[in-house]
Structure formats: C-alpha cells, structure tokens
C-alpha cells in the first residue's frame, strides 16, 4: 500500500436553517492510502453525500481540512480545486450524468481534454472498448440503456487515470443483475489501475466488497475505519 492520498482532519459541516444551525457532519477524520477502497454507508440524511462532496473538493467544510494528493483543498479557490479534480479525481454518479450534447466517445474524452491530453480520442476509444462499448462510440447518451450509460460514465471516470475515484450510489439506478455487472467492472478497473476508490452506497453487498467501511449516523462516525 502506497502513501496517503486522501486525508481528512476533524471535518465538520454546519449549514444555516430555519431552526438555527444544523450540523450535518461532526468532527470526522479519515486517511486513505493509494489503492485503498472505502465504502460510506448510512441511512438517508446521515451525511454520506455531504462527506463525499467535501472529500472530492466539490464543497468546503465549515471546519477541518481535506488534503487530496498532497494539496490542502481549503487553501485553494474554486478554479484551483477544479484543477485538482481534473488531475486527480474521477466520478461515477447514480444518474450517470452524461452530457446529452456529446456522444459516448466525446463524453469519455471530456476529462482527458480538460487535462489537456493530446491523445484524448485514442485513449477514450480504448477505454470504451475495455468496458465493452467499442461498437457504441458515436451513440448519444439517449440511445444507450442505463447499464450502457453507466459503463460510459465508468470509462469516463477512469479516463484521466485519477488517483481517487468517487462513486455516488453507482448501482442505485440499475436493476440488480446490471448493478452486479457494473460493480464487477468498477472493482476490476480499480484493481487494474491501482486507483483509490471511495463509494457511497445503500447496497450492503457492494459495500462489503470494499477493503474498508464506515457507517454514518446523523453526521457521526459509528463504525471506525478498519485496517
């Protein structure tokens, strides 16, 4: 196992609400090494997605710090954080989040182009072939099934060879059979490329495939990280 790639220290998130301040996350710390896999589970509203957003630099904590690939996210502005995401982070979402105005190949090319890679097209094509969609390159997202769309999304997530891949309910919108195959693909690629995987899920079976697991309850960590 390599060096620490993602470190969270005393993360808190407080938001204003009608009844005063609402604490969504409560002084939470964790540390992940290169190649680790972590599942975040918990009931709805327990703060899973908030934690994911903070770890990925999509949002800033009220207190505490996140260090991703050696960079303290709290000291960066939004565009600088975007730069860090472009270089080190990949995403897989529950609702796939493909751009309708681009075809499958272009969707996968997107993070490569954001990273300024010259070989975006070739690399994206080989990735789509790897996830079994070599024949669907010029299809638009609307012409693809849910499973196929998530494969495109996974190809996109791995395209820029991210250090950390965040997945938010990656099988949530899929039937169990398709979901199974998608999670196989996700873990295969995770192993192949040595990516660190952070996933939020309701699916206990998916969570059990991760090396480590935390459970959140009302913003508190109830199951500590295991080695």
């Amino acid at each position: 196992m390599g060096a620490s790639i993602l470190i969270a220290r005393n993360l808190s998130k407080v938001v204003p609400s009608a009844e005063g301040e609402l604490t969504i996350l409560h002084r939470l710390s964790l540390e992940l090494r290169q190649g680790d896999s972590l599942a975040i589970v918990g009931a709805s509203g327990s703060g899973k997605s908030t934690l994911l957003g903070l770890l990925a630099g999509l949002d800033l904590p009220s207190a505490g710090s996140v260090t991703l690939a050696g960079q303290d996210l709290g000291s960066l502005d939004e565009d600088q954080r975007a730069r860090v995401r472009a270089e080190h982070v990949g995403f897989v979402f529950q609702s796939f989040q493909l751009l309708d105005s681009l075809n499958a190949l272009e969707n996968v090319m997107l993070p490569l182009e954001l990273d300024g890679r010259k070989d975006a097209r070739e690399h994206a094509r080989s990735l789509l072939e790897r996830v079994g969609l070599g024949q669907r390159l010029s299809h638009s997202p609307r012409q693809l099934s849910g499973g196929e769309q998530q494969r495109v999304a996974i190809a996109r997530a791995f395209a820029a060879e991210p250090a950390v891949l965040f997945a938010d309910e990656p099988t949530g919108n899929l039937d169990s059979h398709t979901g199974e195959r998608i999670s196989d693909l996700l873990f295969e690629l995770n192993q192949e490329r040595g990516t660190t995987l952070v996933l939020v899920t309701h699916d206990e079976r998916l969570a059990q495939r991760c090396r480590r697991l935390i459970r959140l309850d009302a913003g508190h960590l109830v199951m500590p990280l295991e080695a």
């Binding site: 997605s49 994911l52 957003g53 990925a56 999509l58 949002d59 939004e78 565009d79 975007a82 730069r83 860090v84 995401r85 472009a86 270089e87 982070v89 995403f91 979402f93 529950q94 609702s95 989040q97 751009l99 309708d100 105005s101 681009l102 272009e106 090319m109 997107l110 993070p111 182009e113 954001l114 990273d115 996109r156 820029a160 938010d168 309910e169 949530g172």
Partner: protein, 834 residues
C-alpha cells in the same frame, strides 16, 4: 378544506406570487408582457395624438368656418353670394417665390393676407426671434412678417429689407404662429406673411402662375349651409369647399406611411412577446405540476387549483401591463421628440384610452398565450405525488391554437391594421422562415460534422445548439429578421439619396426655374447664356386638371392611393412639344408627324400614369384648363427618364392645341457652385420667376427621411426587446439542464473560463448566424430595390459584414446574461440530483 373563500385564495395567490418572484420564468413573463404593452401603448398614443392634431386642425385651425380654395381667383358672383348672406370674409393668396436679401436668395412660401385675416384664431408674433409672443395683428402694407429660419437663411435681422419679386418689404416682426398652418406638416420653405395690398407690386403673380387663392368665410351654420348650397353647383374643377368636416382627411404621405410601419413594427413586437409569454407561461405551468398535484391531494378542488394559479398570473399580468403602459407613454414622448419638426406644435395629450387599450393588449396576449398551458395545471392528477411521471392530459390542439389566434385577431383589430398587408407579410415571413430555418438547420448540422475534431469548447457550444435545433433555428431567424429590418432602414436612409445623387451626371441641372412669363422667355434664356449656365430648352406649362376619360369621371376609374389618384387630385403641368424631348422613349403609338387625321388633338401620355389611369391608345380625355374643357385623344405612350433633372411631363399635347391659354415657361439649368450672386441677380431681374435649388430640396428631403426612419428604428427597439424576451424565455426552458451540465463540468475539473467560453461560442454562433442572415437578406432586398424600384446601380455594402459581429455581441451578451446561473452552479449540484 372543502370551501376556500375567494379572498383567502387571492391572498394565497399573492403570497405565492411574491415567493415565486425570484423564479426566472416569472421575470421573463413580466418582461415579455412589459414589452408587448409598452409597444402597443406607445404606438396607440402616437396614432391617437396624431389624429387629435388632425382633428384640431380640421375644427379650430382652418382660420375660418368655411374655405373656398382654388388655383384661380374666385369668380365675382361666388364672392357676391357670400356678401349677400352677410358672411364674414377674408382673402388669402399663397404661392412659392424666391425672396432675395443682399447676399442670397431663399425659396419661401409667401402668404398675402388682407386686414380681416384670420376669421378664426389669431396670429402670434414677436419683435425678435425667440422673443415674447404677442397675439393678434397682421403685416401692414410695406411690411413682411417672417419665420426665424428665413432670417437665418439670408443672414438678416428684423428691420432689414427683403425683395419679394420686384417689391421691397421691411421685415418688422417674427411670425411664430398661424392658425391655419397647424396641420401643414410639410413646412419645407419658410413663411413670409405680407399684406394683400402689396401683392400686385411684387409682380410675382401672373396669369398661369401656380397660386392658391383662398376665400375665408365665417357666419352662422344656417348662412354657411346656404352659401355652400348656392355656390356648390358652380364650382370650377380647380376649386373646392372645405369646412371642419372636410378637413384634412389624410395625414401627409411620409407620416402616414411611417405610422403604418410603426403599427406593423408594434404588431411584430406584440407577436414576439406573445411567443415569449407562451414559452414562459408554459414553463410556469410545468414547474407547478408538483405543487398542483400536492394541493389537489390536500383537498383543493380542480377549479380552486386552477383559480389559484390563474390569479397568480392575473396579478402578474396586471402589474406588468400597468408598468408597460407607463413605459409606453414615456416612449411615445420620445417618438414625438424624434419627429419634432414634422408635426404641428400643438399636439393634444391623447387621454387615457391608448393606455387602457395597451393594457388590454397585454391582458389579451396573456390570456390567449398562457391559458392553454395553464389549463393543463388544473388537470394534473393528484396521483402525481406518488408517480412523478404522470403528466396532465395535454390540452386540445383547438384550444391551444384557437386561444392564440383569437388573441392575435383581437390585437390586430385593436391596432386596426391593413389586414391584407399584415397577412401577406406574416404569410411571406412564415414561408421565408421555413425555408431559411431549414437552411440554418442544415448549416448547423454540417458545422457539427465539420467541427468533430475541433476543440472542446467548440464541440460543447455547438452540441448545446444542436440539442435543441428547432429552438436554435427559430431564435436565429427571429434575430436575423430584426437585424435585417434595422439594417435595411439604416441602409435606405443613409445611402439611397446619396447613391442617386452620385449617379447623376456631373453637370445635371441644379436649379429649376418656373413661372417664366412668355414676354420674358427670350431675355431669360439670353441671361442664362450670359452666365454660361447649361440650360435645358424652355417648355411651356399650363396647369390643367384631368376630369374625364372616355366621358366617365376619372374619380370613378382610379383607386384610392394609387399614383393615378395622385395624378387627378391636383393640377397637372401640361405642355406641348413638336419634338419628342430628350430622355423620352415612345412605347406605343406615333409622334405627331405620322399622325392619322382626327378631329381631336393628340396627347402623349407617360406610360406609368397611363397604366394607373387605365389609359389605352385612342382613349379620349377631357382636361379642365383655365376654366375651359379641352378634349384630346391618346396618340402615344412614352417612358420618361425622371432622374435627369430635365423638365419632364406626364402629358405632352400636340403643338398648337393650348396656344390660346395663359402660359408660363419652365426650364432647368446648371450653375457651378459659388454663383449665388448671379442667382440673386436673376431673381431680381425676373421677379415672377420661381427658382428652385435642387440641392436645398434634396437636403430637406434627406432630413425628413432621416427623422421618419429614426422614428421607425426607435420602434424597432421594442421589437428587439421582444426578441430578447423570446431568447430569455427559450433559455429559461433549458436552464435546469444547463445548470446540471455546468455543475457536472465543474465536478469533472473544468474551470469557469471553459464554461464562459462554451457559452460565448454557443450564443455568439447563434447571433453571428442571425447577423449573417440579416446581412445576406439586406443585400438581396437592396439589390432588388435598387434594380426594380429605384433603377439605380447597385454596389455591395461592406459595412453589412458588421452585422454578424453585432449579432454575436448582442445575442452573446444576452445569452450569457440569461444563463449566468448555470455558470455559477456549484459542482455539488450533481450529488443532490438523483
């Protein structure tokens, strides 16, 4: 919640409206209605106030109760009839003549009045330009009252002398107001008011001169009616009676046309805003499906739910309409300001009616365009709270289009438009839109293929356009048409007169001389030769009016507003010539020498006038000339080159046929610039001769054209605003999607710069396509106009290439403004969706 009182429903609606006020679609809806109401209110006020001014002129501003007007003096028995009835009487003689100062000449409109003038209203004058106005009085013999601009033109001051013909007059006062000039929209030449007693001494008015004689009468209605009945049967063809009812029925040509175009423009603005209203009302409805379903679940009846949302829209509509009416009222002030010099000084306020009508337009548009999507809200099944995919039954097509059409018809009726013209334009526009839209779509698709290998922002921007190709083509077309109309008007205003002038031969005549008396004919020609002025031949001119064609009165033959109508509404300048004048070409028939023997003398008619009067070779015409009827036969038709500044004529008679009548001569000549003193000398030597300076006339024409087109462009700004409303409402529909896309791109690591660039490309392309369309359209239309309508040589207008840039900046700016929320979307949004 079985029964909800209306009042509670109203307050609920108001509270919801205030809460929703920040929602984009309500703001766009507000904006669209504002534009529609402001445009129609402004035009409504313009029309109403203009008509009011006309009416004022007709009732108060004749200077008399009854007016007998003619191009020859009234006959003694016509005057006696009035005296017998004890009517009040005053006499006015009006004509154009050159007024000479020490250093220059100025064509002026001379009005000679007697001591009784005016019978109704009062003159106003001042001792010095812009001095205090004094009412009443009139010029004594030997005096002249002049408009300030004459002083400016001749560089003189009050107290100096001017020559009118051979009479020298002292300018004693500045004329500031004449009761019977209020509606005289074409005050092209400055007014000089003199005493009737000085008229003869000027020597200007000679038999055959173009003069307007006016006998003013006042008295009791009975006496006036009796007078009218007495003299009506004996009226000459050149005489007419005017009272308040006959007053000026039509607005001067250019203004009337301008009003029509303004009306058209406001209709287009209302139509476009209607589309924006429909789009944003649709979004208003679809975003409230959940709320509606929930309210139904909570026990609100279908009717109550519908009422709640209708009330919300009605409140919004009322607020927008009131603001729009206020804005429209302010805007028409600007319109009157722009048209300043062309309009009477006193324009009535216009009342509340145009504002109410404007508000009505807004509410009708809201009802017509928003009712169908709103009706869907009432039909949202309550089960939607469990199953979000449940959509209301779509409203019947009849309801959707019926309501919109009804609204449209009502608005058009309100604006009382020329329906044939409107439908022709709308129909033509629709067909053009379909063809151009197809081309645009094709263009976008090929661009997409072409740019497959282009950089990311280009592919993203283009991809977004192609996500909604119909909307993109529609928006681009709408802006294209708006830019096209603005550019075309600018082009015609700026270039037409210049082009025409530039294409004239260098030594084309720049002066016209009218009213040359037969006795002075030879010495005038001699003097021209001394100045080495290049002159055209002198043509005899006799004013005459066409009364009958083949024994049928011409009034029955020609249609209103045609050029034929204009030819019979006034005296024509008749001439005779032995030879076909240069620049004329025979189209049909023969010139005199090869003429078959006929008892009737022959006449050669200009082909276009012949067409509008439906004249053929061999037709008989009767002219009233100098109080006598002359019958002639059409023996030839000819075309005339009107642009050569040579004297040209509609009707040329066989030589000898008009010889016995009082004749004056007409010619044109070229005098190199800088010879003003020679013209002064000429006008002193020949006081009766009217010398027109072509350049000065063109300059006046240019300034009128500039004013009118400026007014039309001003109203086109409303159309532009309506176009922006359509763009914004279209953007609203895609905003959620854009926010999501922006958030995703941010999550994947895109910097804000990339998003901005993408938007710039998307909307810039859209605007550039509009501009390109406008530039091409403008060139095509101008080519056709130059070639067919104006007979000018066309050359391309490189400045039109600025249109794509203008379009890109305009639409680009508006597009980025309309989607700024998508640029600022936090990347966290992608996690919340789901």
């Amino acid at each position: 919640m079985a029964r909800l009182p209306l009042l509670r429903l109203c307050s609920l609606a108001l509270r919801q409206l205030l809460r929703d006020a920040r929602a984009g679609e309500l703001r766009v809806l507000f904006f669209a209605l504002l534009v529609a109401v402001a445009a129609s209110t402004a035009i409504g006020y313009f029309g109403a106030r203009l008509n009011g001014a006309m009416l004022l002129r007709a009732t108060e501003f004749l200077g008399a109760d009854l007016l007998l007007q003619g191009s020859s003096p009234a006959r003694p028995e016509q005057l006696q009839a009035g005296m017998d009835l004890d009517l009040g009487h005053a006499r006015v003689v009006e004509f154009s003549s050159v007024v000479a100062g020490d250093t220059g000449i100025q064509l002026s409109s001379i009005k000679a009045v007697d001591g009784a003038y005016p019978l109704r209203g009062e003159l106003k004058s001042a001792a010095q330009p812009y001095g205090a106005e004094v009412r009443g009085g009139g010029p004594a013999p030997g005096e002249a009252w002049v408009e300030p601009r004459l002083l400016v033109a001749l560089n003189l001051k009050i107290g100096d002398n001017i020559d009118v013909g051979s009479k020298s007059l002292r300018m004693t006062r500045v004329l500031t107001y004449e009761p019977d000039r209020a509606g005289d929209f074409y005050s092209l030449t400055p007014r000089v008011l003199i005493n009737l007693a000085d008229l003869e001494a000027t020597g200007v008015v000679q038999p055959g001169s173009r003069v307007s004689y006016r006998e003013l009468w006042s008295g009791t209605p009975e006496a006036l009616a009796s007078y009218r009945n007495t003299i009506k049967p004996g009226l000459e063809a050149n005489q007419r009676l005017q009272d308040s009812r006959d007053g000026n029925r039509q607005i001067g040509g250019a203004l009337g046309k301008a009003e029509r175009y303004l009306n058209m423009a406001s209709l287009v603005a209302v139509l476009l805003s209607g589309v924006a209203v429909a789009l944003s009302a649709n979004r208003f409805a679809s975003r409230r499906f959940d709320a509606s379903a929930l309210l139904r679940c909570l026990g609100l009846s279908r009717r109550q739910a519908l009422l709640l949302f209708s009330l919300q829209l009605a409140m919004l509509g009322l607020l927008a309409s009131l603001s729009g009416a206020l804005l429209g009222w302010l805007a028409q002030l600007g319109l009157f300001y722009l048209l300043g010099g062309l309009l009477p000084n006193v324009v009535p306020a216009g009342g509340l009616l145009p504002a109410i009508a404007g508000i009505g337009t807004g509410l009708v548009a809201l009802t017509g365009f928003a009712l169908p999507p709103l009706a869907a809200l009432g039909r949202v099944p309550p089960l939607r709270v469990l199953r979000r995919d449940l959509l209301p039954v779509p409203p019947s097509t009849w309801l959707v289009y019926g309501a919109a059409l009804l609204a449209l018809a009502l608005i058009m009726w309100r604006l009382s438009l020329d329906l044939v013209l409107t439908f022709t334009l709308l129909g033509g526009g629709l067909i053009a839109a379909l063809i151009l839209g197809g081309l645009l779509l094709f263009g976008l698709q090929s661009l997409r293929r072409l740019l497959a290998g282009a950089s990311l922002p280009w592919r993203l921007g283009l991809g977004q356009l192609l996500r909604h190709p119909l909307a993109a083509a529609g928006q681009s077309l709408a802006f294209g048409l708006i830019l096209l109309s603005m550019a075309l008007i600018a082009l015609l205003r700026g270039e037409l007169l210049d082009t025409w002038q530039n294409q004239l031969p260098k030594d084309a005549p720049n002066y016209f001389a009218l009213n040359i008396l037969p006795a002075e004919k030879d010495s005038f020609a001699e003097r021209l030769k001394d100045f080495s002025a290049l002159g055209a031949p002198l043509y005899p001119v006799i004013p005459g009016r066409l009364t009958h064609i083949n024994d049928e009165p011409v009034r029955h033959i020609v249609s209103k507003d045609s050029s034929g109508d204009r030819a019979i509404q006034r005296d024509l300048s008749l001439t005779w010539a032995a030879e076909l004048p240069p620049g004329n070409t025979l189209l049909a028939g023969t010139w005199w020498n090869a003429q078959a023997q006929d008892s009737l003398p022959g006449v050669s008619v200009e082909a276009k006038v012949a067409e509008s009067l439906k004249l053929k070779l061999g037709d008989r015409m009767i002219f009233s000339v100098g109080g006598m009827d002359r019958e002639v036969r059409v023996t030839s038709l000819r075309t005339v080159n009107w642009d050569n500044f040579q004297p040209n004529f509609f009707m040329i008679f066989e030589p000898g046929t008009l010889k016995d009548l009082p004749t004056t001569y007409l010619t044109s000549f070229y005098l190199a610039p800088g010879h003003d003193l020679q013209v002064v000398e000429l006008s002193r030597a020949f006081p009766a001769v009217t010398i027109l300076q072509v350049e000065a006339l063109l300059e006046q024409l240019r300034s009128i054209l500039a004013q009118v087109t400026l007014a039309v462009e001003y109203v086109l700004l409303f159309v532009l605003a309506a176009g922006l409303a359509v763009l914004f409402s279209g953007l609203q529909a895609t905003l959620d999607e854009r926010i999501q896309q922006g958030a995703l791109l941010r999550a994947l690591g895109a910097e804000r710069r990339l998003l901005v660039k993408t938007r710039r490309i998307e909307f810039g392309l859209l605007g550039a396509a509009s501009g390109l369309l406008a530039a091409l359209g403008c060139e095509l239309i101008s080519l056709a106009l130059y070639h067919y309508a104006f007979d000018l040589t066309w050359s391309p207008h490189p400045w039109l290439l600025a249109l794509p840039v203008v379009g890109a900046v305009l639409v680009g700016g508006a597009g980025i403004f309309g989607t700024r929320r998508a640029l600022n979307a936090t990347p966290l949004t992608v996690l919340r969706e789901g």
